[in-house]
């Protein structure tokens, strides 16, 4: 029980830092920490496989991508202090209220979370069996999705012409 509260507070603090930190690189590292704390929650709930996948893919790779982009795009020229409109404030308060209402409904319905002890090592085997029988087609399709993403990324950013343009610009910046 102490873990619950500790992990929740940790995740909340890092999540708040993602939104409220001034520097975007700090926000990216806070996102990494948030994802790691979520992975720890998965771990504590007994879904160790998903925790490992979360760390490997989300925390390990996505956050790195963010940091690389931040180093690529010279962020110092963008300062994060533009004004916010009032209508957006109203929208945000409304959304908060609605979502909190939905969640209090869910919790009042007495959904009990099973304790992590109940899941034995056996469930991992059942999980994989399910993944490779019932969910085999989505599994294969996910590869196709990844292929599409790969092609898209290269076409958008990494085409030879684009890279050459980028490098020429870099050279100009260096010469200045």
């Amino acid at each position: 029980m102490a873990y619950d509260i500790l992990l929740t507070i940790m995740t909340m603090v890092f999540a708040l830092m993602v939104v409220f930190s001034k520097k975007t690189v700090v926000a990216a590292f806070s996102l990494l920490m948030t994802l790691l704390s979520i992975a720890m929650i998965y771990f504590q709930l007994g879904t160790v496989f998903l925790a490992a996948i979360q760390v490997l893919v989300n925390a390990g790779a996505i956050a790195i991508l963010f940091v690389f982009v931040m180093m690529l795009i010279n962020l110092e020229q963008f300062q994060n202090n533009r004004e916010r409109s009032k209508s957006k404030l109203i929208i945000s308060i409304l959304t908060t209220l609605i979502i909190l209402g939905v969640f209090s409904l869910i919790i009042n319905n007495n959904i009990e979370v099973l304790s992590a002890v109940n899941i034995s090592d056996n469930s991992m085997k059942t999980l994989f069996d399910k993944l490779f029988t019932e969910y085999y087609l989505p599994f294969e399709m996910a590869t196709v999705l990844l292929l599409a993403a790969l092609v898209a990324c290269i076409v958008i950013t990494g085409s030879e012409k684009g890279i050459k343009q980028e490098q020429e610009k870099l050279q100009e910046n260096l010469n200045e």
Partner: protein, 119 residues
């Protein structure tokens, strides 16, 4: 139980690092000079700032790593499931398709020269 051991390990590891850093902070001398606080740039005066734009190849490497890593992470549960499965033919057919898609993606990447670093 598992989680408890993990947490204790994490706490002890952090404590070790903190103690080491604290020791040198305590024992080392402190004498600040202007030159010591300067940016190190091989002895000459620093030019420009460090937050400049870097080569796009780094980003492309990271992005391709992300997508390939996801695919390879996919194969870990597959490798475990194969050894407990009875319908191995079905699993192998999926694997062949999977690998074909992966190789198509790989060949595309190599052909696009996105990872070709200048010599």
């Amino acid at each position: 139980m598992e989680f408890l051991s993990f947490v204790i390990f994490l706490i002890l590891a952090t404590a070790l690092g903190l103690i080491l850093m604290f020791i040198s902070n305590l024992l080392g001398q402190k004498k600040k000079t202007v030159r010591k606080n300067d940016i190190y740039e091989s002895g000459v005066n620093p030019v420009g700032s460090a937050t400049r734009q870097y080569d796009i190849k780094f980003f492309l490497t990271a992005i391709l790593f992300l997508l390939f890593d996801v695919e390879i992470v996919f194969l870990l549960p597959w490798a475990i499931a194969y050894n407990n499965a009875t319908n191995t033919g079905f699993l192998i057919a999926g694997f062949v398709f999977f690998m074909a898609v992966l190789l198509v993606g790989y060949i595309f990447v190599i052909n696009s020269k996105a990872l070709k670093w200048e010599e």
